[in-house]
């Protein structure tokens, strides 16, 4: 079981709520994924529905006992805005968990490492469970640990790109030296990418676009569920090493044979 802060998770597949063709398809896909942590953009939720209005449409479909909400700060551009947004989320959604997303660059949505570090430190002090979305930067991960992050969420490739684990060399370093859970976020385009992430020892993965935009989101969600489980099992069983040592003859060392 995966433990982050005060919560334990059976499923190592975390999911998102954006880009689905309808809230009911989103709900069905999330249930099929067996995910227990779903991230919701604060900007999509009506935080102050007036008295006569229906409860927020998106939240209505996420109302399942096993689904933990992970509000995210998508849209903020600096630490100050992020801290404010996290406080709004805590009040409106009654959770102190926050997925910290600070991307001042709206084109590629690249996370700002400096503002993210600042905001993590401040939010941790304010009692938040902080899960920051970051580049696959091993030093930044250690710095985030130092200021009290609950986990790190390095990207596999640009968000929404479906390009898979382009940053794998750095992810392996991060995993090897991390003292907090490593959740690979962004860019996971296929179940095989998710399985690979788990095989190299990630604690969990977060998948959104690849499920939401597929031809059959419910089936794809289930495929990811199985892939994540398979990858985790393979990691635990320890993969065999790839053998590149066999050679037909030994021209360089054959003389040693002659001596005997």
């Amino acid at each position: 079981m995966l433990k982050i802060a005060d919560k334990t998770f059976h499923s190592r597949l975390f999911t998102g709520t954006g880009k689905f063709s309808s809230s009911s398809i989103m709900e069905a896909a999330l249930l099929a994924s067996a995910s227990e942590l779903v991230t919701v953009a604060l900007k999509r939720v009506d935080l102050n529905p007036s008295a006569n209005q229906q409860p927020d449409e998106l939240l209505k479909h996420l109302n399942h006992p096993h689904l933990n909400l992970l509000p995210n700060t998508s849209g903020v551009r600096n630490a100050k805005e992020a801290v404010f947004a996290a406080q709004m989320a805590r009040e409106a959604l009654e959770t102190n968990w926050i997925k910290l997303e600070i991307h001042p660059d709206p084109k590629y949505l690249m996370p700002d490492p400096i503002e993210t570090l600042k905001a993590t430190e401040e939010l941790a002090k304010l009692g938040f469970v902080v899960l920051p979305y970051i580049h696959a930067d091993p030093v930044l991960c250690k710095r985030l640990e130092d200021v009290g992050t609950a986990a790190v969420m390095p990207l596999g490739s640009p968000i929404g790109s479906n390009k898979g684990l382009k940053t794998i060399d750095f992810l392996e370093i991060i995993i090897s030296q991390s003292r907090v859970p490593v959740i690979i976020d962004a860019g996971i385009g296929a179940p095989s990418d998710a399985a690979k992430a788990m095989e190299i020892g990630a604690d969990a993965v977060l998948v959104n676009t690849a499920i939401a935009v597929s031809g059959n989101p419910v089936l794809m969600a289930e495929a990811f569920k199985i892939a994540v489980e398979a990858g985790r099992m393979a990691y635990l069983a320890r993969l065999g090493t790839i053998n590149s040592l066999a050679v037909a003859s030994s021209p360089l060392t054959a003389f040693l044979e002659d001596e005997i």
Binding site: F20, S22, K43, R44, D46, S161, A212
Partner: protein
């Protein structure tokens, strides 16, 4: 360098010639490359790309799905005033048009807001003419104060303002500003805008730079299609976008492609653009820029809007009124332009759902700008 200086070195004629000189081979190269340049964009909007429309549509759909998913954002215009000191040959609010002029009072604005909220909207676009004696920065501040509690996202399409004005308005909850260049053909621009502050081509051209400097979250670009050759004008729009994205990298961008619509006594388009060509343009923008928002208004027909949803568009207006007071106060007053798709917001939302997309009413929160 500001865009004005950059633009000085551009020649309309040569640009136009180079677009029309593009061949099938250029188009194929543009379609097959993963990262497209401005030269590729030229090929994609050229007549040579017409036979490739289906391939362009397919690619545009894929790219849009990857970035934006199966969602379409909903917004609605709120016309605050039709007072205007400018003469624009194509506009119903032109100074020389004998129409009743009106600027909404606070009370009237709230009547309009109540109807818009009832329609389901959280994203609103404020629109005015240009009447600096009554509709100025102080007026905008009052309006923003008034409506801020009722909307999650506020855009403005009003006269270009100075840098200091934009800086003053941002803390009031202003998120997005749309300023359409109308045309990048300077001489033609002057012909269509003979009188008023708008006749200053350079001031208008410099506006996105001022918006970038003011740190506006999103800006909207576009030309009025029909005033000049749409291919050349659209190329300069793309070039402007490319320049802005690199310089003001923290801003988001959206593009609109309004086609000249008739109004009482109005201008006939100089260069007509048919539906096929508009689809080509929309797909070309998407292939050139995977992240830019593309917006379609009620100027377009029912059939066109129904089909364009899946081809690259990311936001749509519906149930729009283009006259101040049009929703509640004075529904019968004269419109800025004729609406083509008169379906209600709810009907459009249902149309979007039927196509397997989700209409998104809220995708911003003013609390994110504190």
């Amino acid at each position: 360098m500001r865009f004005n200086e950059f633009f000085e070195n551009q020649s309309w004629e040569e640009t136009s010639k180079s677009i029309y000189a593009k061949t099938a081979k250029d188009v194929e190269q543009a379609l097959n490359t993963p990262k497209r340049t401005l030269e590729d964009f030229k090929a994609l909007i050229s007549p040579a790309a017409a036979p490739y429309l289906e391939s362009m549509a397919k690619l545009s759909q894929e790219l849009t799905l990857k970035r934006f998913g199966k969602t379409i954002q909903m917004y609605v215009p709120l016309y605050l005033s039709n007072e205007c000191n400018n003469i624009c040959t194509y506009c119903g609010f032109s100074y020389d048009n004998k129409v009743k002029r009106k600027t909404l009072s606070a009370l009237e604005i709230m009547e309009e807001v109540a109807v818009i909220k009832e329609m389901g909207y959280h994203h609103v676009l404020l629109v005015t003419g240009e009447a600096n004696q009554t509709v100025h920065t102080d007026y905008f501040k009052k309006v923003l104060d008034l409506i801020r509690p009722h909307f999650a996202h506020i855009s403005m399409e009003v006269q270009p303002l100075d840098l200091a004005d934009y800086q003053e308005l941002t803390p009031y909850g202003l998120n997005t500003v749309l300023v359409y260049q109308e045309t990048y053909h300077e001489e033609d621009y002057k012909k269509h805008h003979p009188k008023g502050k708008k006749s200053n081509f350079q001031y208008r051209l410099d506006t996105p730079d001022r918006l970038g400097e003011a740190g506006i979250h999103k800006m909207g670009l576009g030309v009025l299609i029909g005033l000049e050759d749409w291919r050349t004008d659209s190329f300069f729009t793309a070039m402007h976008l490319d320049y802005l994205e690199k310089k003001y990298w923290q801003s988001k961008y959206s593009i609109s492609f309004p086609r000249l619509r008739p109004f009482s006594g109005g201008l006939e388009p100089k260069v007509a653009m048919n539906d096929r060509e508009l689809v080509q343009l929309i797909c070309a923008y998407r292939l050139f820029n995977e992240e830019v928002e593309l917006s379609i208004s009620t100027r377009e027909s029912v059939i066109f809007r129904d089909h364009i949803i899946k081809l690259g568009i990311t936001s749509i207006s519906a149930g729009s009124k283009t006259n101040p007071g049009g929703y509640a106060v004075e529904p019968q007053s004269l419109e800025q332009f004729e609406i083509s798709d008169e379906r209600t917001a709810l009907e459009i939302a249902e149309m979007i759902q039927k196509q397997g997309y989700e209409p998104v009413w809220k995708d911003w929160d003013l609390s994110l700008m504190k």
